[in-house]
Symmetry: none
Subunit: 227 residues, 4 copies
DNA sequence: AATGAATGAGCCTTCATTCAT
DNA sequence: GATGAATGAAGGCTCATTCAT
């Protein structure tokens, strides 16, 4: 069966690419893991790069199912929905002992985008981010400018992501005992939500300086070669 | 002179490791850039890996000088010192068009720690983080537990770091024009500080929304680990 | 239909083998061009080599029709028939902008004979060469020995072939403008015929320049081998 | 010693490239024959293609020494010098039992030019051809147009070359015994010279048609990829 | 008769490393 | 200390061929 080999290769490629990245992973290793011939990759995917792109695509698809965002009940109070959102996010980040390879792979793409990047943003990141924005919409007073809402949203995501990215740092910085007590998913969820809500309540009347400053967030060219 | 060759190799290795990472960078390329013989590396550093570790070490040392934290004037109001801190952080992250290779190299270590990692934390990250904690100390009421202060600090760092890490995502998500207006270093500094201060102020008098009151900011229900 | 696939493969193989030679041409490329499955070739021809031999065979067969020698009118004066012969030869060599793949394929065989070679000589080259010899027979006096006639014939063929083989050299050696004026098929035909006829006329009465008279055109001193 | 390995590789590469051509020859085979590591080729020549070019270059250089043209004695009668020239040419073509690999390699270039081609023409072919033209200059009446002289020269070269190129054909066409008697280098030299001289004498008053015909010798693009 | 999938051998190239000088 | 040359292992990829259907 065609799909059989193809699928086995993809399944084998995922964890390996996730662990080693595009360049350190070798097709030979992937094929050995999949129990197929090296030429299969050329046959089914053309070359290593296209196998990688396909793998990332599948990773994203499989990712959603593993820790799906709670289906929004529009009637729930927005505070509750925010907490559910943050909780899911943190669960994805640090809630699972060994983060699944799909996640590692996606992190690699975020940090060192390749050709597989764009699609991931459009089909995975943006929809979920808009879900967060909708929640914030209900929490923020109506006169808050669009970009403030976005910034608040990014701040939330940023804090969640940070606990994943800086996991190594935190592990070294905070004693295991305290980490277990105060840096659990639940505990961090509570902290981030409380912190955010407190700020929102306070900043009912946001105020923006009018002169834009010249240094923007990301001027540098982003998407280059397969890192 | 021995030191001459050694130094030239280190100087050449920095930007190359930063740009390509450990594995994609080749000793030949580094030696060509340094104008030395390929065998020099093995002679002076033993092997490629030890050259890399040495390079990271030097990167950290050189890093501090480039965007140094504002020397704390203990008399300045803490709000001002917080703003200065965040501003410096953001400047390091996204303020410089082409981030210096030292920074790239350190980011690589944070995300994919190698043997060069531990030392970096102790000598670079922790000192600066404690400077932030000191500022927060003055802003937070005295009864706030230690871990909350740490979490707030991590949140601030997390948001700053996020704008660097997710630069690619933001670039795709937010139109260039708006990015220039609302996502400059100054603007983001203002947002993060306002947001943080607002939350802090609010949490001075921990207040329960509708959840049971025991879930306070200093609640110590503990669960599990941090990956 | 079996023949359908077989034929399509052969038709596709011709130009490809002609262009790239046996080794650089790939079965995949041929099959793609023919719109058939890769396995077809092994099924119908056994292997790549036998497909090649079959292709050369067909090329020869198709070749004759494309630039056929002028049907000999035995009544025409031999000078005219010689000119027609040479003209046809040159036309095949350099007269057609893009030489047909059949020709390219046959050239390859002449220069680097494979198993497909022998048959080509017998059925294609020899008949035409004997036509030339017949013409020379009428032009040469009856007492000229056989091998001289053969040598003259080979000389004519050799000159024609040379303009094809050395096309690249001539292109670099002679300016385009002069090439167009004096190296057209017509012009070269005239030159070769005039030259040959002049030599033949002269050698009717073998005449010694200053060498000893025994070195005549029909001298039969023999030496060694032909590589 | 650097030159040692380099030279050994070149010496080994020559016959192999000559026998199999660029594509069929493998670097592994060459290195095995040279008794060096495969990586040597990359180190000394960059890649297979540049090794090939270098090999052709050396072949040409070495070629001249093996059957050098007789140093021209301007006082010798031109007929004698012509005979010496043709004799040398034929000797190169068919005089040596196993044609040296240098010759095979150069033939490959003539027939399927690669990047190594141009230099060969300029430094090897042209000088020798002009030597022939000088001889013809003395044999031809002064009013003979330039292009006729060139054509006569090309005709001579063409005939010589033909005996090499068509060696396979001749071998099949002419019985061994007769080949030994009448197709030796000496015999063919005599024939070609006699034939040429006879024609020259006759064509004292060459005549050119005035209208150039439109089909030129070599319109097609010549130099392409390494065949 | 025909196919798509799979194979293993082999290709050129690149790499970090070592060796003799 | 420093060098240029040399090495072996491994890299991605391509090929003609075969197998089960």
């Amino acid at each position: 069966m065609c799909d059989d080999t193809r699928t086995r290769v993809l399944n084998a490629a995922g964890p390996i690419f996730a662990e080693k990245g595009f360049h350190r992973a070798t097709v030979r290793e992937i094929c050995r893991a999949a129990g197929v011939n090296v030429a299969s990759i050329n046959y089914h995917f053309g070359d290593k790069e296209r196998l990688y792109i396909e793998t990332v695509k599948r990773a994203r698809q499989a990712r959603v199912a593993q820790a799906p965002l709670p289906s929004a009940h529009p009637d729930d109070p927005p505070e509750e929905r925010l907490e559910a959102f943050v909780h899911t996010m943190l669960m994805r980040m640090i809630g699972i002992e060994e983060p699944p390879w799909q996640w590692k792979l996606m992190m690699r793409e975020i940090l060192q985008p390749t050709k597989a990047f764009e699609e991931m943003i459009d089909e995975y990141f943006l929809p979920e981010f808009h879900m967060l924005l909708d929640i914030l919409d209900e929490l923020l007073p109506p006169d808050v400018p669009e970009h403030t809402r976005t910034q608040v949203g990014l701040g939330i995501i940023g804090q969640c992501l940070f606990y994943r990215i800086a996991a190594n740092v935190i592990q070294m910085m905070i004693p295991a005992e305290e980490r277990a007590r105060h840096y659990s998913v639940d505990e961090l969820t509570r902290h981030i939500c409380r912190f955010t809500l407190a700020a929102l309540e306070q900043s009912t009347t946001p105020r923006t300086r009018d002169e834009p400053s010249e240094v923007s967030v990301c001027d540098e060219s982003a998407t280059d070669e397969l890192a």
